[in-house]
Amino acid sequence: MKIVKSLSLLLAAGSLVCGQNAGNWLTYSGNDAGHRYSTLNQITKANAARLRPLWVYQIDKTDKFEASPIVRDGIMYISEPPSDVTALETGSGRVLWKYKRVLPDDMPVCCGKVNRGVAIHGDSIFLGTLDAHLVALDASTGSVLWDVAVADYKAGYTSTVAPLIVKDKVIIGSAGGEFGVRGYLAAYDAKTGKQAWRFWTIPAAGEKGTETWKGDSYKFGSGTTWVTGSYDAALNTIYWGTGNPGPDWNGVKREGDNLYSNSLIALDADTGKMKWYFQFTPHDVLDLDSTQVPVLADIQWKGAPRKVVLFANRNAFYYVLDRQTGEYLLGKSYVRQTWAQPELDAKGRATWLPNTHPTAQGTTVYPNSPGATNFQAPSYSPQTKLHYVMTRDEGGVFYSGDDSYKQGSWYLAGRFVSKPGEEARGAIKAMDPRTGTAKWEFPMFAPSWAGVLSTAGGVVFSATWEGDMIVLDDATGKLLWRFPMGGNVFANPVTFLSGGKQVVAIAAGHALFTFALE
């Protein structure tokens, strides 16, 4: 009884911050602009060393734990692999309810049975599932409100992305780019589960863009959308990155630029119609998905305010684009790369260097297939005006093979291995969007799969691959505090208030760790 009572007290304390969104973490990236930044400032450079673990929640699965939590009014909602949802009380870490999804056992899945998080809107929680459904759950009980098939999992479609709420719609992306699917971004009515629109990232027969694919190779063109994008309400535009063309490592059968793979697409939020696109890696043969979080920032550009989108790409180039028009403003290599000429052309197009495509004997190229960065979420601090990016420095050896498309089967036409005899390295880089160069970097022994969070307290939170939670000074990159969590990290940190106290949370190994000041 006593426990129940103190729990309800805690929840009541939590609801004091209701409507006061700074204390909540309501979307994948914390805000629509993709900043993964919080105005919370209890944890500062001066006191970060007093952080201590608050509670740890262990999952009972062995798959990678990639969830980025959602927090509202004292309740945290996480997805667990493969496609489950758990609600936790943020003060105690105690479970309130669980949704367990029974999945078919004949699902073709690429890279682990993972999920990166849920979305919240009104009284509903939204989950994209491995069997390519979109499910709405009651936020208070976990009951299924509606459950719709977005695509056919038997054809290789899955959903691992955290949905994005745009007005009254739930935006859900696709995965399955290793199975020759046709990528899409789809919008569903949050109340009814009715599809509002769907944008196919790969054109259909007769549509513009098919001329960038040899023959009918566009039919298996992939271009999936497996990392949550951003939204600008004033421009009524959704920004989302698209993945590799299929098959991954042999482009012979799909000569051409392969639109709209490896691009940033800007869509009208009401209709899903494309306003503009920018392709980062034309005719990709290294699996360089442009599925990073687009960061929307308003910066001074050559003396005038400009609405831009910042994009630290897997292909090792850092881009600044005008987000109203898609105009290319800046592009610079920010991690070692050997696939393209060091300078982009006037329109920001990369030029492939000779002898960089996969071959039967193997071709060594930087970066390796996992890229210069990947799904690790970046962070943008409006305070420092720096864009914090988790980077990887690793070479790969790429082999090309042959694959013909078969529904639901792997469609890779090649493979890669890490460059033998070389240890990969990682670093968090504080990119200055005005110059495309790093103001500081925090070098790491191995490339980390953790995302980055910055706050008004002047600190940056992230984690090393080996599982150290780290806190850095946002202006200098100096290490302020660390805590060994003892498991590899594949997830992004978030921060919120619980009972009025600032808490930071991140998944490591098979547990979710939370930290607060002692």
Partner: protein
Amino acid sequence: MWKHALLLLSLAPAWAQLPTDAASIQAGKKAYEWHCAFCHGAGSDGFAANLVSPRLIYAPTDSSLVNIIRTGISGTGMPPALGMSETEIKQVAAYVRSLGRTAPQKVAGDATRGEALYNGKGGCTGCHMIGGSGGRMGPDLSDIGIRRAPASLRTSIVNADSVVVPGWAQVNAELSGGGKLSGVRLNEDTFSIQIRDDGGKIHSLAKSGITKLEKNAAKSTMPSYEGKLSGAEIDDIVAYLFSLRGGL
């Protein structure tokens, strides 16, 4: 929730049935050449586990074989399958079992003479353990006859630097208080490194206390025996090592 738990149980994969027909094994061979040969060798003579063995350390049953092909062996160099369907995984497993039914690779030397050389002239016992006795400066060789094929064992002895076993990188650290430490790197992260020195003592050092750290993953502390042992002597030692199967 109970209902779901029961359902999950009933969905658990049945005991793995490997195909036995020649066409499937042939398909498995083809997939093996693409997915496995660059580590295990086309005829299983690569640097990774020797699969020409009726019994495998990690795969006592067909189910465990299918499982390690599907998910890899965590913490080792054996990766999970990427780009293989369940059917292909079973075909490869069937091919691996067919390798296990073939006669073990032929070795030229004599195992009894090899054992004597190993314990005597070769001076191997000081660094390696077999069956619980020997030194700690190199990997335990009790089941080396399954873990490595004869051709790759020979290469290791002739030129130790040619394949350095992961986890046995040699490191030299210069410490900020003066002093040096060298040994084998057991682990490393952004902030610390763990080293076993030549006496077998384990040290954990904060990187902030190290002024210079030399690592050479491509350099072995094991001497190369080219010129120190005759070709026939090396053949004998290989025959001895190949007979070490950890009781399997």
